[in-house]
Symmetry: C2
Subunit: 329 residues, 2 copies
């Protein structure tokens, strides 16, 4: 089944809304005062929904922030981008979630989070949330939510409601470690896959989702995932570009753009937001893939998790001025 | 009654341990990404206890941090300064508290806190806390704690235990607004004042503590506070220096040092830490006041809430090289 068209209702995202502070020097940890830049609006679902809206898709966010400047920063940003924030709750007690990020010399990252112990962890199904879900055409779910018991029931209920009215669901596993961790989370991943129309794995996540060793090869993993009812799988391969597999059709590959990486955070979320929005707006797979690659690539050229999210015009300009990797493997 | 001598046992502080991030440009709020510097070890009691130890007083901290880099930063710093951290609990779930600070052009500050909803708010009376309180010679309490019902019982119990073994108690109201706010907090302030030996008010806090209008004059406020059992009152007046009043003795004034203010946060805490430590080490009031003024003044010349805390030698060097306000009012 193709993704539900944009006219059915907005793409909605449920999940964490954060303020992010990024260390501007490369190094390890936070053992002493270092220069930083922030707060940036942040959170994987927030980045996804901002890119989704920015490229022209109708979009709404479900989440919770604190009654503080960091919550306002996110609400203002989403509002400016055209995202419906009526489903964003302002928690009177808990603060907006925060993430401190520092890049190590080898490209890995050190984090200090206040995530599920912030307002983000006390998200509840309010009347406002119900209203947003009732008119949604598509739900996008990030894997990090599946590790949070209190949020899983919301995700499950929203997915069922959206599907019941003819909407579709996309799922970005985004949880390399957690996928394999505890049995409860693994059960939620299975339940999520059974409700997924579009799967957006990065790297080894394809095999983790298929519960298959990598040596079985992509084809077998894809075949298994299609057998679960998934109709479209787009693998994000970073510098190797991306590939879309459709249950009824050939694989389509799009090469990556060559960019100088400033801050990789949010690339996958912008990719997903652009892909879902353009597909729902009726763009064919090959074009949507190129826009998604461009959205991810443009985003890594700016510091901050969604500062490089682009409009269609901005992405057109970016593509015109950016080389693509010609020989991908 | 004079403060209990250092040999009776360490000065202990109960309260918040935070990581602080300071905006390096002057301006209003956090509505967009700005350059910042951090994390600095922070929290008023943390600054107090670090200065107390650094100037030579024996010192121990009671507080709670998260199991994260910001907690470790604070534990490492206090340990390096010689503070006993056996009473610092590492909370397995909640993060270390955070404070974002930005100075406005008029010198006031914008904050974003995760304070009592962080590990700091889940402090409990553990065996380790009991052991620290059992050997304490002096307890210092900051007024912010009195607004937190869950922590008040700890403060009250610690104060009673320390006094029962011949120890003393100091109290820094540090809560202009809260002092007048709700009736419960006001009742706690009264209870606290009844257990206080040394009061360390800033500005109008003297009158708030005495529950008297400013026009009654300092003398009357002081007299009333002495009638509650307080034996020493030191008023912190910033650029106007500081004055010590003793129940049996004259007022002693010490002028302020002339410094270029980089970051005023923590000045009052460093003042208090130096004053309590030197008094407990046997220093007469006039000398202790000068060291306390120097500790506060030196601290505002460095960014971060306790980065200017000094050893006695560092403060001697600072005093030798720094002009004092000659004509104070």
């Amino acid at each position: 089944m193709a993704l539900a068209p944009d006219r059915l209702g907005p793409t909605i995202c449920i999940g964490e809304i954060l303020a992010e502070v990024v260390a501007t020097t490369v190094g390890s940890g936070f053992a002493e005062p270092i220069p930083m830049l922030g707060p940036f609006p942040s959170g994987a679902p927030t980045s996804f929904i901002v890119q989704c809206s920015r490229i022209g898709g109708s979009a709404a966010m479900i989440g919770a922030v604190g009654d503080d400047a960091f919550g306002q920063l996110n609400i203002d940003r989403m509002t400016r981008e055209g995202v419906d924030v009526s489903g964003v709750n302002i928690d009177p007690d808990l603060p907006t979630g925060t993430a401190f990020v520092r890049y190590r010399p080898d490209g890995t990252r050190d984090f200090v989070f206040n995530l599920w112990t912030s307002a983000a962890g006390r998200l509840a199904w309010t009347d406002a949330v119900d209203a947003v879900v009732s008119r949604a055409g598509h739900l996008h779910v990030g894997g990090t939510l599946l590790g949070v018991p209190a949020l899983w029931s919301m995700v499950e209920c929203a997915a069922q409601r959206v599907r019941a009215r003819g909407g579709t669901v996309s799922f970005d596993p985004n949880m390399r470690k957690e996928l394999q961790s505890d049995r409860e989370t693994a059960a939620r991943v299975s339940a999520m896959l059974a409700m997924t129309d579009l799967l957006l794995p990065s790297g080894e996540e394809l095999f983790l989702a298929a519960e298959m060793p990598q040596q079985n090869g992509e084809e077998q993993a894809i075949k298994h995932l299609f057998s679960l009812g998934i109709s479209e799988i787009v693998t994000k391969r970073g510098a190797q570009g991306s590939t879309a597999y459709q249950v009824a059709g050939d694989a389509t590959h799009a090469p990556a753009f060559v960019v100088e990486e400033i801050d990789p955070t949010g690339a996958g979320d912008c990719f997903g937001g652009a892909y879902v929005a353009t597909r729902r707006l009726g763009m064919p797979v090959d074009q949507a893939l190129i826009y998604a690659n461009a959205a991810g690539a443009r985003n890594v050229t700016r510091r901050g998790p969604m500062e490089g999210a682009g409009t269609q015009g901005e992405l057109d300009a970016f593509m015109a001025g950016t080389e693509r990797v010609t020989c991908s493997t």
